[in-house]
């Protein structure tokens, strides 16, 4: 592999990173909002969100990516490939994150809530100051785990022509006629990204275990 091949590879890695990164950032926050709405058990909305979560979790990413990319124009929206990819990845990861947040909500200690209300906190102050900081830490291992799933699933966006870290290996071998080196190099880059996340997850788990006492 020459330097131009490496350049392409790095570009592909960057595409994977920023598209996944944006999806993850939106997905973590949206997951929290959906979990909040679900915990509030607002009729109809509760069921609708439940259906969304089941569907999004059951649908293969590739299918979801194609579905978004192909149905948007029929509804009069012209999506650029990258945006379609981000929407699909976000819809997928949000559903998983919503369940992670929700289980943290449901497992949160009733005693701490009573201490907060008894001392004169409104439910909002309680949520912001007592609950959120703790469920963020306890959810982090699960959230980070989901992040690495998303990154490993992200080559799905190649089906609509986004040149990500996986797809770019095709491009390189089309010129060099030697597919193995770029694929190995891509694998190494994926491992680097994932191991960074795994390291973050360890850190999060250590913090979380301290809160459990």
């Amino acid at each position: 592999m020459d330097s131009s091949a490496w350049g392409l590879l790095i570009q592909g890695a960057w595409t994977t990173l920023w598209i996944s990164g944006i999806s993850i950032a939106i997905g973590v926050v949206m997951g929290l909002l959906i979990a909040l709405l679900r915990v509030a058990k607002i009729p109809v909305l509760h069921q609708l969100l439940g259906v969304y979560i089941s569907l999004a979790r059951a649908t293969p990413l590739v299918t979801l990516v194609l579905f978004i990319f192909l149905t948007a124009p029929t509804m009069g929206v012209n999506l650029n490939r990258n945006v379609a990819g981000i929407i699909a990845l976000t819809l997928n990861t949000t559903a998983f994150n919503a369940e992670i947040w929700r289980s943290a909500f449901n497992n949160f200690s009733k005693e701490q809530r009573e201490a907060a209300l008894a001392i004169g906190m409104t439910p909002w102050v309680y949520f912001r100051r007592i609950m959120l900081p703790q469920i963020t830490i306890t959810s982090l291992p699960g959230l980070v785990n989901e992040m690495s799933f998303l990154i490993k699933g992200s080559p799905a966006i190649a089906v609509i022509g986004v040149v990500d870290l996986t797809r770019v290996t095709n491009r390189i071998s089309a010129v060099t006629y030697d597919p193995l080196p770029p694929i190995l190099a891509a694998a190494v880059l994926y491992m680097l990204i994932i191991s960074l996340l795994v390291w973050l997850q360890r850190l999060a788990e250590r913090k979380a275990s301290r809160l459990a006492v």
């Binding site: 005693e111 701490q112 009573e114 201490a115 907060a116 209300l117 008894a118 001392i119 004169g120 906190m121 409104t122 439910p123 909002w124 102050v125 100051r129 007592i130 900081p133 703790q134 830490i137 301290r210 809160l211 006492v213």
Partner: protein
């Protein structure tokens, strides 16, 4: 004019799933008074205490804190969350299980509500908190996190946390029941100090000797009904009912 009662409970009833847990309970706590609530397990002591700060909503009756009704606004409608929070801020509660916030240090557990509920500056809140931690003997542990503390230490921090809101009344729900026997004394010592300083307190406890020593009034609950309400010397030496006599024989065998 008679002084307004610190806590006034009138004709309070409360059921859980159709079972009446409190039945027509009335009780007045005067400012500066210490009232102990005794009774066997399941008699409704916790529920009574938790109705006072509206952690449980009574089915009937009304509860006033220094003359102001809790839970129900002047218009007769349920209080808004903000109004209710304002009323609860006037009551300090200490739980059997401490219920400290594990993500905050000892000092921040105590300053959390003064800063984020009362709007004190950090400096003011720190000063107030340090004085209270000093009082409960936990000042040197201010930077530690709850998981590093013993039960007795946690409970003393929890007391300081409640006091930091400068409540009109302190409510204690079996504050020493979760403690190893050797740690009970340090917590009771703090509560005793508070009684000497004139704090108004309602205390649920199984520590008979202690109740006798600190209380101005002892209330006995049996199946959700107050069956005796008297001065501690009267209560412990001359119980009016067989029920209380049997209870005292079991809980405080004659020494």
């Amino acid at each position: 004019m008679p002084e307004t009662a610190a806590v006034s409970i009138r004709n309070l009833s409360k059921s859980f799933d159709g079972t009446e847990v409190l039945r027509d309970v009335s009780l007045e706590v005067q400012p500066g008074e210490v009232v102990s609530i005794l009774g066997s397990s399941g008699s409704g002591k916790s529920t009574l205490l938790r109705c006072i700060n509206w952690l449980e909503q009574p089915d009937r009756g009304d509860i006033r804190i220094a003359g102001d009704r809790i839970g129900v606004s002047d218009t007769g409608k349920p209080m808004s969350r903000r109004e209710l929070a304002g009323m609860r801020a006037r009551l300090g509660m200490v739980f059997q299980g401490f219920n400290l916030w594990p993500h905050l240090s000892v000092l921040r557990n105590v300053t959390e509500a003064p800063i984020h509920v009362q709007g004190l500056s950090k400096a003011e809140a720190d000063e107030r908190a340090m004085a209270l931690l000093e009082k409960v003997g936990m000042a040197d542990k201010r930077e530690q996190y709850p998981y590093t503390l013993s039960g007795g230490q946690k409970q003393r921090v929890a007391i300081a946390r409640a006091l930091a809101m400068q409540p009109k009344v302190m409510l204690f729900d079996e504050p020493t029941s979760a403690l190893d026997p050797e740690l009970v004394g340090e917590v009771l010592g703090v509560i005793k100090d508070l009684s000497k300083e004139g704090y108004t307190m309602v205390l649920v406890t199984h520590e008979m000797e202690f109740a006798r020593a600190v209380s101005d009034q002892v209330v006995f609950l049996d199946k959700g009904i107050i069956i005796e309400k008297s001065h501690p010397s009267e209560f412990f030496e001359n119980p009016k009912t067989d029920r209380v006599r049997r209870f005292l024989e079991l809980e405080a065998p004659a020494v």
